[in-house]
């Protein structure tokens, strides 16, 4: 996906707004293209932002990433933008003691009247219209959602066009258990039971975790899939993934010869 973003960043060097619009339009076009085949949408906003930050001559600090004035009505004032973590006036510890400092940095008090206060409860909308209302802490298990909230693109609901309702419900269940915390062995035990219960949809949950960028769940699912196929024969593996055998007989014989040491 990277080469598309670089091309976009080149166009954004000259004029900020025109470049931003072009990038946004290209991103939406790409997303529409991929959605029609139900494949993963490219992470347009984050990487384009980073690319343009490199190209912009007046980008401030070396590693700061400026935020686009987004198309939502509550977009930030770009000229006065400062990242939350450098401006102590915007960092207010909330009364609730259950919030960690990370979450309180996300939920900073509004600086001007134009700034959007991030919501404490978000609604996750799946591909088929199912909605799940979760706390901010739970939703922040996903790096994707966390970034969207930090950028102020989220008012109340987060559309997730790549994740279906049933799969999302299982992902949310996992996140909620993670947030509850507990001892290492208890969590491991619960993970095992979760994997056992969701055997049928393991692949879908893995893809969703990859899209939502939730590393613990993704690792768990990958390991579970690997364990499932670890003692299977070739035909069983093909059936499990629904793969058709596109090897010619000679090719297959050659590969089996090369890997003979496995079958001994």
């Amino acid at each position: 996906m990277r080469w598309r973003h670089r091309a976009c960043g080149g166009g954004g060097g000259s004029s900020t707004d025109a470049g931003a619009d072009q990038c946004w339009a290209l991103g939406m076009l790409l997303r529409a293209l991929f959605d029609s085949k139900r494949r993963k949408a490219p992470m347009v906003s984050a990487s384009i932002r980073e690319t343009v930050a490199v190209r912009r001559p007046d980008s401030e600090a070396k590693y700061e990433v400026p935020v686009w004035p987004s198309s939502s009505p509550n977009h930030r004032d770009f000229a006065n933008w400062r990242p939350i973590w450098t401006d102590p006036s915007r960092l207010e510890l909330k009364n609730s003691s259950t919030m960690s400092s990370e979450e309180s940095a996300i939920e900073a008090a509004p600086e001007t009247s134009k700034k959007v206060e991030p919501p404490k409860v978000v609604v996750l909308q799946s591909y088929d219209g199912e909605e799940f209302e979760v706390d901010l802490v739970v939703a922040s298990q996903s790096e994707t959602i966390k970034n969207m909230i930090e950028d102020g693109c989220v008012e109340r609901s987060v559309p997730l066009p790549n994740v279906e309702g049933p799969v999302l419900s299982k992902v949310v269940r996992y996140w909620k258990r993670r947030v509850e915390g507990g001892k290492e062995e208890e969590l491991k035990q619960w993970d095992k039971e979760f994997v056992e219960a969701e055997k049928q949809q393991l692949l879908e949950i893995m893809v969703a975790a990859h899209y939502l960028n939730s590393q613990p769940l993704f690792d768990l699912c990958c390991q579970a899939v690997a364990d499932t196929i670890s003692n299977m024969t070739v035909e069983d593996v093909r059936e499990y993934f629904g793969i058709e055998n596109d090897l010619t007989p000679e090719e297959e014989r050659r590969i089996r010869d090369v890997n003979r040491w496995v079958f001994d």
Binding site: C222, S230, I243, E244, N245, E251
Partner: protein, 157 residues
């Protein structure tokens, strides 16, 4: 009769098209294959063209070897040494794989009996790796190939 048969066939076709296919996303496939053991990787190589090409890549075998060797494998220095020895795939096939089979009591048995044997296992693996490297060096052509030159006295001016 035909009217009732055809729609269900179409539905099946659509379901098959909509169903997620791992071959669409090679990154995910690599993530799964990196967590497999050696025997299953050999099986995976026979599944289809894409899988066999992915299994030929060294990164998958590198992940496998690093998982078993204590210390997690080291950095780019290790990679260049292993490349000189013929790649991670060859390393696993000739050294790590047979050593693991020998040390865990035969192919097909997985899991360690206790923590004590895990330490013993990693030490034995390190020893096997050292012997393998020495053997590769010995097989190199050239007058300096044999390590016996280390036994000769050194003239210090």
């Amino acid at each position: 009769m035909e009217a009732t048969v055809l729609p269900s066939e179409e539905e099946e076709e659509e379901e098959r098209k909509n169903r997620f296919s791992i071959n669409d996303d090679v990154d995910l496939l690599i993530e799964i294959l990196e967590r497999l053991d050696g025997r299953s990787l050999g099986v995976a190589a026979c599944v289809c063209r894409l899988w066999s090409s992915v299994c030929r890549r060294d990164s998958v075998w590198e992940a496998l070897c690093n998982r078993h060797v204590a210390g997690g494998g080291g950095g780019p220095g290790t990679r260049s040494v292993v490349a000189a020895l013929g790649g991670y795939r060859r390393l696993y096939r000739l050294c790590v794989g047979p050593a693991l089979d020998r040390l865990t009591g035969g192919p097909g048995r997985s899991g360690w009996a206790s923590a004590a044997t895990a330490a013993h296992l990693s030490l034995s693996l390190s020893l096997s790796l050292s012997l393998f490297s020495i053997d590769c060096y010995e097989r190199l052509d050239g007058p300096q190939a044999s390590l016996l030159f280390l036994c000769k006295p050194v003239n210090v001016p």
